[in-house]
Protein backbone atom coordinates (compact mmCIF):
# COMPACT_ATOMS: atom_id res chain seq x y z
CA UNK A 1 0.00 0.00 0.00
CA UNK A 2 1.67 3.18 -1.12
CA UNK A 3 1.16 6.75 0.03
CA UNK A 4 -1.20 7.63 -2.81
CA UNK A 5 -3.68 4.95 -1.91
CA UNK A 6 -3.50 6.06 1.75
CA UNK A 7 -4.39 9.63 0.67
CA UNK A 8 -7.18 8.25 -1.50
CA UNK A 9 -8.52 6.22 1.44
CA UNK A 10 -8.36 9.24 3.76
CA UNK A 11 -10.24 11.37 1.20
CA UNK A 12 -12.85 8.64 0.86
CA UNK A 13 -13.33 8.33 4.61
CA UNK A 14 -13.63 12.12 4.98
CA UNK A 15 -16.13 12.34 2.10
CA UNK A 16 -18.29 9.47 3.39
CA UNK A 17 -18.27 10.70 6.99
CA UNK A 18 -19.16 14.21 5.79
CA UNK A 19 -22.05 12.72 3.85
CA UNK A 20 -23.22 10.69 6.84
CA UNK A 21 -23.18 13.77 9.08
CA UNK A 22 -25.13 15.71 6.43
CA UNK A 23 -27.81 13.04 6.27
CA UNK A 24 -28.15 12.06 9.92
CA UNK A 25 -27.47 15.27 11.88
CA UNK A 26 -30.59 16.95 13.27
CA UNK A 27 -28.93 20.31 13.85
CA UNK A 28 -28.97 22.29 10.59
CA UNK A 29 -25.62 24.00 11.21
CA UNK A 30 -23.99 20.58 11.74
CA UNK A 31 -25.50 19.49 8.45
CA UNK A 32 -23.92 22.48 6.72
CA UNK A 33 -20.55 21.59 8.27
CA UNK A 34 -20.91 17.98 7.11
CA UNK A 35 -21.75 19.16 3.62
CA UNK A 36 -18.71 21.47 3.68
CA UNK A 37 -16.45 18.56 4.69
CA UNK A 38 -17.89 16.45 1.88
CA UNK A 39 -17.37 19.22 -0.69
CA UNK A 40 -13.76 19.77 0.40
CA UNK A 41 -13.14 16.03 0.06
CA UNK A 42 -14.60 16.12 -3.48
CA UNK A 43 -12.20 18.97 -4.32
CA UNK A 44 -9.44 16.75 -2.90
CA UNK A 45 -10.52 13.93 -5.24
CA UNK A 46 -10.31 16.25 -8.24
CA UNK A 47 -6.79 17.30 -7.29
CA UNK A 48 -5.89 13.64 -6.61
CA UNK A 49 -6.88 12.71 -10.19
CA UNK A 50 -4.79 15.58 -11.54
CA UNK A 51 -7.65 17.96 -12.36
CA UNK A 52 -6.23 20.83 -10.29
CA UNK A 53 -8.28 23.49 -12.07
CA UNK A 54 -11.52 21.67 -11.36
CA UNK A 55 -10.47 21.16 -7.73
CA UNK A 56 -9.83 24.87 -7.20
CA UNK A 57 -13.08 25.80 -8.94
CA UNK A 58 -14.88 23.31 -6.69
CA UNK A 59 -13.46 25.15 -3.66
CA UNK A 60 -14.26 28.57 -5.11
CA UNK A 61 -17.83 27.87 -6.22
CA UNK A 62 -19.09 25.29 -3.74
CA UNK A 63 -17.28 26.24 -0.54
CA UNK A 64 -16.80 29.96 -1.12
CA UNK A 65 -20.18 30.45 -2.79
CA UNK A 66 -22.89 27.83 -2.36
CA UNK A 67 -22.07 26.71 1.18
CA UNK A 68 -21.62 30.29 2.40
CA UNK A 69 -25.06 31.18 1.02
CA UNK A 70 -26.54 28.10 2.73
CA UNK A 71 -25.06 29.06 6.12
CA UNK A 72 -26.20 32.62 5.45
CA UNK A 73 -29.75 31.33 5.01
CA UNK A 74 -29.50 29.20 8.16
CA UNK A 75 -28.40 32.24 10.16
CA UNK A 76 -31.44 34.20 9.00
CA UNK A 77 -33.85 31.46 10.11
CA UNK A 78 -35.64 32.11 13.36
CA UNK A 79 -34.13 30.06 16.12
CA UNK A 80 -35.54 29.11 19.48
CA UNK A 81 -33.60 30.38 22.49
CA UNK A 82 -32.44 26.90 23.49
CA UNK A 83 -31.22 25.56 20.19
CA UNK A 84 -30.63 25.93 16.50
CA UNK A 85 -33.18 25.01 13.83
CA UNK A 86 -33.55 21.26 13.54
CA UNK A 87 -35.20 18.98 11.04
CA UNK A 88 -38.49 17.80 12.55
CA UNK A 89 -39.90 15.63 9.78
CA UNK A 90 -37.66 13.32 7.83
CA UNK A 91 -39.75 11.35 5.27
CA UNK A 92 -37.25 8.53 5.68
CA UNK A 93 -38.80 5.96 3.33
CA UNK A 94 -39.41 8.40 0.48
CA UNK A 95 -35.93 9.88 0.86
CA UNK A 96 -34.31 6.45 0.74
CA UNK A 97 -36.37 5.54 -2.33
CA UNK A 98 -35.41 8.73 -4.18
CA UNK A 99 -31.74 8.45 -3.19
CA UNK A 100 -31.61 4.77 -4.19
CA UNK A 101 -33.27 5.45 -7.54
CA UNK A 102 -30.93 8.34 -8.27
CA UNK A 103 -27.92 6.22 -7.31
CA UNK A 104 -29.08 3.46 -9.67
CA UNK A 105 -29.59 5.96 -12.51
CA UNK A 106 -26.19 7.62 -12.05
CA UNK A 107 -24.34 4.30 -11.82
CA UNK A 108 -26.03 2.93 -14.97
CA UNK A 109 -25.36 6.16 -16.83
CA UNK A 110 -21.71 6.33 -15.77
CA UNK A 111 -20.88 2.68 -16.48
CA UNK A 112 -20.80 3.33 -20.19
CA UNK A 113 -19.39 6.84 -19.99
CA UNK A 114 -16.24 6.41 -17.90
CA UNK A 115 -13.17 5.36 -19.90
CA UNK A 116 -11.29 2.21 -18.86
CA UNK A 117 -8.18 4.10 -17.86
CA UNK A 118 -8.61 7.26 -15.83
CA UNK A 119 -5.84 9.03 -17.72
CA UNK A 120 -7.84 9.02 -20.92
CA UNK A 121 -9.99 11.94 -21.89
CA UNK A 122 -9.40 13.99 -18.75
CA UNK A 123 -8.29 17.54 -19.45
CA UNK A 124 -6.44 18.63 -16.37
CA UNK A 125 -4.69 21.99 -16.54
CA UNK A 126 -6.08 25.41 -17.45
CA UNK A 127 -4.12 25.44 -20.73
CA UNK A 128 -5.81 22.24 -22.00
CA UNK A 129 -9.20 23.49 -20.85
CA UNK A 130 -8.56 26.77 -22.62
CA UNK A 131 -7.74 24.98 -25.86
CA UNK A 132 -10.85 22.84 -25.56
CA UNK A 133 -13.20 25.71 -24.71
CA UNK A 134 -11.92 28.08 -27.38
CA UNK A 135 -11.48 25.30 -29.94
CA UNK A 136 -13.84 22.38 -30.55
CA UNK A 137 -16.09 23.18 -27.56
CA UNK A 138 -16.54 26.88 -28.36
CA UNK A 139 -20.24 26.56 -29.21
CA UNK A 140 -21.00 24.67 -25.97
CA UNK A 141 -19.02 27.22 -23.97
CA UNK A 142 -20.89 30.16 -25.51
CA UNK A 143 -24.23 28.38 -25.03
CA UNK A 144 -23.40 28.00 -21.35
CA UNK A 145 -22.65 31.71 -21.17
CA UNK A 146 -25.95 32.61 -22.83
CA UNK A 147 -27.83 30.31 -20.43
CA UNK A 148 -26.22 31.94 -17.40
CA UNK A 149 -27.01 35.40 -18.77
CA UNK A 150 -30.63 34.38 -19.24
CA UNK A 151 -30.72 33.13 -15.64
CA UNK A 152 -29.28 36.43 -14.37
CA UNK A 153 -31.83 38.45 -16.36
CA UNK A 154 -34.61 36.20 -15.03
CA UNK A 155 -33.45 36.78 -11.44
CA UNK A 156 -33.41 40.54 -11.97
CA UNK A 157 -36.91 40.44 -13.48
CA UNK A 158 -38.29 38.27 -10.66
CA UNK A 159 -36.69 40.34 -7.89
CA UNK A 160 -37.52 43.70 -9.47
CA UNK A 161 -41.11 42.69 -10.20
CA UNK A 162 -42.62 44.38 -7.12
CA UNK A 163 -40.98 47.73 -7.61
CA UNK A 164 -42.71 48.58 -10.86
Amino acid sequence: MNLESVIFAILGIVAVSGGIVTVFARDVSRMAMGLGTFLVAVAGFFVYWGATFLGIVQLFVYIGGVLVLMIFAIMLVHRSPDGSPTIETRHDVAAIAVAGGLFFLVVTALRGAVPDSVDQGITSGPAELNEAFLGPMLTHFEMGGVLLLAVLVAVVVILGGDER
Partner: protein, 316 residues
Protein backbone atom coordinates in the same frame (compact mmCIF):
# COMPACT_ATOMS: atom_id res chain seq x y z
CA UNK B 1 6.84 11.06 1.05
CA UNK B 2 9.19 14.00 0.53
CA UNK B 3 6.30 15.98 -0.96
CA UNK B 4 4.32 15.62 2.27
CA UNK B 5 7.39 16.49 4.36
CA UNK B 6 7.98 19.64 2.31
CA UNK B 7 4.29 20.48 2.65
CA UNK B 8 4.48 20.16 6.42
CA UNK B 9 7.63 22.30 6.44
CA UNK B 10 6.00 25.03 4.35
CA UNK B 11 2.92 24.90 6.57
CA UNK B 12 5.11 25.36 9.64
CA UNK B 13 7.00 28.19 7.93
CA UNK B 14 3.77 29.93 6.92
CA UNK B 15 2.46 29.64 10.50
CA UNK B 16 5.72 31.09 11.82
CA UNK B 17 5.75 33.92 9.24
CA UNK B 18 2.16 34.84 10.13
CA UNK B 19 2.92 34.74 13.86
CA UNK B 20 5.96 37.01 13.44
CA UNK B 21 4.09 39.25 11.00
CA UNK B 22 1.25 39.56 13.51
CA UNK B 23 3.72 40.39 16.30
CA UNK B 24 5.41 43.10 14.24
CA UNK B 25 2.11 44.13 12.65
CA UNK B 26 0.34 44.82 15.93
CA UNK B 27 3.31 46.84 17.14
CA UNK B 28 3.53 48.68 13.80
CA UNK B 29 -0.17 49.33 13.78
CA UNK B 30 -0.11 50.85 17.26
CA UNK B 31 2.94 52.96 16.41
CA UNK B 32 1.53 54.20 13.09
CA UNK B 33 -1.89 54.83 14.64
CA UNK B 34 -0.19 56.69 17.48
CA UNK B 35 1.74 58.92 15.10
CA UNK B 36 -1.36 59.61 13.01
CA UNK B 37 -3.25 60.63 16.15
CA UNK B 38 -0.25 62.67 17.39
CA UNK B 39 0.57 60.19 20.17
CA UNK B 40 3.70 58.11 20.66
CA UNK B 41 2.20 54.63 20.88
CA UNK B 42 3.74 51.82 22.96
CA UNK B 43 7.14 52.84 24.36
CA UNK B 44 7.65 51.32 27.80
CA UNK B 45 8.76 47.75 27.06
CA UNK B 46 11.98 47.37 25.10
CA UNK B 47 13.36 49.84 22.57
CA UNK B 48 10.49 51.78 20.92
CA UNK B 49 8.05 49.54 22.81
CA UNK B 50 8.99 46.58 20.60
CA UNK B 51 8.43 44.03 23.36
CA UNK B 52 4.91 45.27 24.15
CA UNK B 53 3.27 42.82 21.72
CA UNK B 54 5.31 39.94 23.13
CA UNK B 55 3.97 40.76 26.59
CA UNK B 56 0.45 41.00 25.17
CA UNK B 57 0.89 37.60 23.50
CA UNK B 58 1.94 36.07 26.81
CA UNK B 59 -1.16 37.58 28.39
CA UNK B 60 -3.40 36.18 25.65
CA UNK B 61 -1.92 32.69 25.90
CA UNK B 62 -2.31 32.59 29.68
CA UNK B 63 -5.83 34.01 29.70
CA UNK B 64 -8.75 31.69 30.35
CA UNK B 65 -10.28 30.31 27.17
CA UNK B 66 -13.95 31.04 27.83
CA UNK B 67 -16.75 29.27 26.00
CA UNK B 68 -20.15 30.92 26.55
CA UNK B 69 -22.68 28.65 28.25
CA UNK B 70 -25.19 29.00 25.40
CA UNK B 71 -22.66 28.51 22.61
CA UNK B 72 -22.60 25.57 20.25
CA UNK B 73 -19.39 24.30 21.83
CA UNK B 74 -17.78 22.23 19.05
CA UNK B 75 -18.42 24.73 16.27
CA UNK B 76 -17.44 27.61 18.55
CA UNK B 77 -14.07 25.98 19.25
CA UNK B 78 -13.24 25.00 15.67
CA UNK B 79 -14.34 28.27 13.98
CA UNK B 80 -11.09 30.26 14.56
CA UNK B 81 -9.09 27.46 12.95
CA UNK B 82 -11.37 27.41 9.88
CA UNK B 83 -10.71 31.15 9.57
CA UNK B 84 -6.95 30.86 10.06
CA UNK B 85 -5.95 27.75 8.08
CA UNK B 86 -6.98 28.97 4.57
CA UNK B 87 -5.17 32.27 5.15
CA UNK B 88 -2.01 30.36 6.05
CA UNK B 89 -2.47 28.19 2.93
CA UNK B 90 -2.67 31.23 0.66
CA UNK B 91 1.02 32.01 1.35
CA UNK B 92 2.29 28.96 -0.53
CA UNK B 93 1.64 30.10 -4.11
CA UNK B 94 3.43 33.44 -3.82
CA UNK B 95 6.73 33.48 -5.77
CA UNK B 96 9.30 34.71 -3.26
CA UNK B 97 12.44 34.47 -5.37
CA UNK B 98 13.43 33.80 -8.95
CA UNK B 99 11.95 30.43 -9.89
CA UNK B 100 10.80 29.65 -6.34
CA UNK B 101 7.23 29.37 -5.12
CA UNK B 102 6.55 26.80 -2.36
CA UNK B 103 3.62 25.40 -4.37
CA UNK B 104 4.27 25.79 -8.08
CA UNK B 105 0.89 25.10 -9.68
CA UNK B 106 -0.74 26.05 -12.97
CA UNK B 107 -3.77 27.45 -11.11
CA UNK B 108 -1.80 29.54 -8.60
CA UNK B 109 -3.70 32.80 -9.20
CA UNK B 110 -7.04 31.08 -8.76
CA UNK B 111 -5.70 29.27 -5.68
CA UNK B 112 -4.88 32.60 -4.04
CA UNK B 113 -8.43 33.81 -4.68
CA UNK B 114 -10.31 30.58 -3.89
CA UNK B 115 -8.66 29.21 -0.77
CA UNK B 116 -9.02 32.28 1.50
CA UNK B 117 -12.70 32.27 0.52
CA UNK B 118 -13.06 29.23 2.80
CA UNK B 119 -12.38 31.42 5.82
CA UNK B 120 -15.74 33.16 5.25
CA UNK B 121 -17.30 29.93 6.52
CA UNK B 122 -15.26 30.16 9.71
CA UNK B 123 -16.41 33.74 10.23
CA UNK B 124 -20.05 32.76 9.68
CA UNK B 125 -19.76 29.75 12.01
CA UNK B 126 -18.09 31.89 14.70
CA UNK B 127 -20.92 34.41 14.50
CA UNK B 128 -23.53 31.68 14.44
CA UNK B 129 -22.21 29.46 17.23
CA UNK B 130 -21.72 32.30 19.73
CA UNK B 131 -25.52 32.55 20.14
CA UNK B 132 -25.19 36.29 20.50
CA UNK B 133 -27.04 38.93 18.49
CA UNK B 134 -23.95 41.10 18.00
CA UNK B 135 -21.94 38.12 16.79
CA UNK B 136 -24.69 36.98 14.44
CA UNK B 137 -25.04 40.43 12.86
CA UNK B 138 -21.27 40.66 12.58
CA UNK B 139 -21.09 37.27 10.89
CA UNK B 140 -23.83 38.16 8.41
CA UNK B 141 -22.15 41.45 7.57
CA UNK B 142 -18.80 39.75 7.15
CA UNK B 143 -20.21 37.14 4.77
CA UNK B 144 -22.02 39.71 2.61
CA UNK B 145 -18.93 41.91 2.49
CA UNK B 146 -16.41 39.16 1.78
CA UNK B 147 -18.51 37.62 -1.01
CA UNK B 148 -19.10 41.02 -2.64
CA UNK B 149 -15.47 42.08 -2.59
CA UNK B 150 -14.23 38.74 -3.89
CA UNK B 151 -15.58 39.71 -7.31
CA UNK B 152 -13.60 42.95 -7.94
CA UNK B 153 -10.57 41.37 -6.26
CA UNK B 154 -10.58 38.41 -8.63
CA UNK B 155 -11.26 40.67 -11.63
CA UNK B 156 -8.36 42.93 -10.66
CA UNK B 157 -5.87 40.06 -11.02
CA UNK B 158 -7.11 38.93 -14.45
CA UNK B 159 -5.06 41.58 -16.40
CA UNK B 160 -1.92 39.64 -15.43
CA UNK B 161 -3.42 36.37 -16.61
CA UNK B 162 -4.24 38.09 -19.92
CA UNK B 163 -0.81 39.70 -20.26
CA UNK B 164 1.18 36.58 -19.41
CA UNK B 165 -1.25 34.06 -20.88
CA UNK B 166 -0.93 31.85 -17.80
CA UNK B 167 -2.26 31.44 -14.28
CA UNK B 168 1.03 30.02 -13.00
CA UNK B 169 2.63 32.75 -10.84
CA UNK B 170 6.16 31.86 -11.98
CA UNK B 171 5.14 32.17 -15.65
CA UNK B 172 3.69 35.60 -14.95
CA UNK B 173 6.93 36.65 -13.27
CA UNK B 174 8.91 35.42 -16.30
CA UNK B 175 6.80 37.61 -18.57
CA UNK B 176 6.76 40.59 -16.22
CA UNK B 177 7.81 43.97 -17.73
CA UNK B 178 8.20 47.33 -15.96
CA UNK B 179 5.47 49.02 -18.03
CA UNK B 180 2.93 46.67 -16.51
CA UNK B 181 3.01 48.99 -13.47
CA UNK B 182 1.35 51.98 -15.24
CA UNK B 183 -0.76 49.69 -17.43
CA UNK B 184 -2.35 47.87 -14.48
CA UNK B 185 -2.58 50.82 -12.12
CA UNK B 186 -6.40 50.88 -12.03
CA UNK B 187 -6.35 47.18 -11.17
CA UNK B 188 -3.95 47.92 -8.33
CA UNK B 189 -6.34 50.45 -6.80
CA UNK B 190 -9.19 47.93 -7.07
CA UNK B 191 -7.02 45.17 -5.62
CA UNK B 192 -5.78 47.33 -2.74
CA UNK B 193 -9.24 48.51 -1.68
CA UNK B 194 -10.91 45.13 -2.03
CA UNK B 195 -8.06 43.40 -0.17
CA UNK B 196 -8.63 45.71 2.79
CA UNK B 197 -12.33 44.85 2.65
CA UNK B 198 -11.54 41.14 2.29
CA UNK B 199 -9.59 41.04 5.56
CA UNK B 200 -12.29 43.13 7.31
CA UNK B 201 -10.03 46.04 8.18
CA UNK B 202 -11.04 49.67 8.52
CA UNK B 203 -12.66 51.56 6.87
CA UNK B 204 -14.41 48.31 5.93
CA UNK B 205 -14.50 46.81 9.44
CA UNK B 206 -18.30 46.77 9.70
CA UNK B 207 -18.34 43.10 10.79
CA UNK B 208 -16.43 43.99 13.96
CA UNK B 209 -17.51 47.63 14.31
CA UNK B 210 -16.61 48.08 17.98
CA UNK B 211 -18.83 51.11 18.54
CA UNK B 212 -22.01 49.28 17.52
CA UNK B 213 -21.32 45.52 17.52
CA UNK B 214 -18.72 45.29 20.36
CA UNK B 215 -16.39 43.09 18.29
CA UNK B 216 -18.83 41.49 15.86
CA UNK B 217 -18.33 37.84 15.06
CA UNK B 218 -15.57 37.31 17.65
CA UNK B 219 -17.23 39.26 20.46
CA UNK B 220 -17.43 36.14 22.67
CA UNK B 221 -13.91 34.87 22.07
CA UNK B 222 -11.12 35.31 24.55
CA UNK B 223 -7.50 34.35 25.04
CA UNK B 224 -5.75 32.27 22.41
CA UNK B 225 -8.83 31.81 20.20
CA UNK B 226 -9.27 35.57 19.98
CA UNK B 227 -5.55 35.81 19.14
CA UNK B 228 -6.07 33.34 16.27
CA UNK B 229 -8.70 35.67 14.77
CA UNK B 230 -6.26 38.56 15.07
CA UNK B 231 -3.50 36.48 13.48
CA UNK B 232 -5.82 35.60 10.61
CA UNK B 233 -6.49 39.31 10.06
CA UNK B 234 -2.80 40.22 10.04
CA UNK B 235 -1.94 37.11 8.04
CA UNK B 236 -4.49 38.08 5.41
CA UNK B 237 -3.06 41.58 5.33
CA UNK B 238 0.52 40.32 4.89
CA UNK B 239 -0.52 37.82 2.20
CA UNK B 240 -2.39 40.54 0.31
CA UNK B 241 0.60 42.89 0.60
CA UNK B 242 3.07 40.22 -0.59
CA UNK B 243 0.83 39.25 -3.51
CA UNK B 244 0.41 42.91 -4.52
CA UNK B 245 4.13 43.57 -4.21
CA UNK B 246 4.94 40.57 -6.41
CA UNK B 247 2.51 41.12 -9.26
CA UNK B 248 1.96 44.87 -9.38
CA UNK B 249 5.48 45.96 -8.48
CA UNK B 250 7.56 43.12 -9.86
CA UNK B 251 8.63 41.82 -6.43
CA UNK B 252 12.10 40.33 -6.56
CA UNK B 253 12.76 41.07 -10.26
CA UNK B 254 14.44 44.45 -9.85
CA UNK B 255 17.47 43.32 -7.84
CA UNK B 256 19.51 40.12 -8.17
CA UNK B 257 19.45 37.23 -5.69
CA UNK B 258 18.76 37.80 -2.02
CA UNK B 259 18.57 41.57 -2.53
CA UNK B 260 15.48 40.99 -4.65
CA UNK B 261 13.80 39.06 -1.85
CA UNK B 262 14.64 41.87 0.57
CA UNK B 263 13.15 44.35 -1.87
CA UNK B 264 9.99 42.23 -2.13
CA UNK B 265 9.65 42.26 1.65
CA UNK B 266 10.30 46.01 1.75
CA UNK B 267 7.63 46.79 -0.87
CA UNK B 268 5.18 44.46 0.89
CA UNK B 269 5.91 46.23 4.19
CA UNK B 270 5.18 49.59 2.55
CA UNK B 271 1.85 48.23 1.27
CA UNK B 272 0.98 46.89 4.73
CA UNK B 273 1.82 50.27 6.30
CA UNK B 274 -0.40 51.90 3.67
CA UNK B 275 -3.24 49.60 4.75
CA UNK B 276 -2.72 50.63 8.39
CA UNK B 277 -2.57 54.28 7.29
CA UNK B 278 -5.89 53.91 5.46
CA UNK B 279 -7.49 52.29 8.51
CA UNK B 280 -6.58 55.12 10.86
CA UNK B 281 -7.39 57.91 8.39
CA UNK B 282 -10.84 57.13 7.03
CA UNK B 283 -14.06 56.81 9.04
CA UNK B 284 -15.98 53.52 8.88
CA UNK B 285 -18.37 53.21 5.93
CA UNK B 286 -22.12 52.71 6.08
CA UNK B 287 -23.30 49.24 4.98
CA UNK B 288 -25.02 50.62 1.84
CA UNK B 289 -21.90 52.62 0.93
CA UNK B 290 -19.86 49.47 1.42
CA UNK B 291 -21.97 47.43 -0.99
CA UNK B 292 -22.23 50.36 -3.42
CA UNK B 293 -18.45 50.68 -3.53
CA UNK B 294 -18.02 47.01 -4.37
CA UNK B 295 -20.68 46.74 -7.05
CA UNK B 296 -20.94 50.25 -8.54
CA UNK B 297 -17.36 51.51 -8.33
CA UNK B 298 -14.78 48.75 -8.00
CA UNK B 299 -16.34 46.13 -10.29
CA UNK B 300 -16.79 48.58 -13.23
CA UNK B 301 -13.24 49.87 -12.61
CA UNK B 302 -11.87 46.34 -12.77
CA UNK B 303 -13.84 45.64 -15.96
CA UNK B 304 -12.54 48.88 -17.49
CA UNK B 305 -9.01 47.78 -16.68
CA UNK B 306 -9.68 44.43 -18.38
CA UNK B 307 -10.92 46.25 -21.49
CA UNK B 308 -7.81 48.48 -21.53
CA UNK B 309 -5.48 45.50 -21.25
CA UNK B 310 -7.49 43.60 -23.85
CA UNK B 311 -7.19 46.53 -26.30
CA UNK B 312 -3.46 46.96 -25.65
CA UNK B 313 -2.47 43.29 -25.99
CA UNK B 314 -2.68 43.00 -29.84
CA UNK B 315 -0.18 45.86 -30.19
CA UNK B 316 2.43 44.30 -27.93
Amino acid sequence: MSGLAWGALYGLAAGLVIAIAALIGVWGERKVAGRIQMRIGPQELGPFGLLQTLADTLKLVLKEDITPAAADVRIFRIAPLIVFAPIAMSFVIIPYASGFAPLDTSVGILFFMAVPAISVIGVLLAGWSSRNTYATIGGLRAAAQMISYELPRTLSILPFVLLAGSMRPLDIMDEWRWWWIPLTFIAFIVYFISSIAEVNRGPFDLPEAESELVAGYFADYSGIRWAIFMMAEYGGMVAAALFGAVFWFGGYLHLPGALGVIMLIAVATLLAVAMIWVKWTFPRMRPDQLMGTAWKVLTPMALLQLVIVGVVIPWL
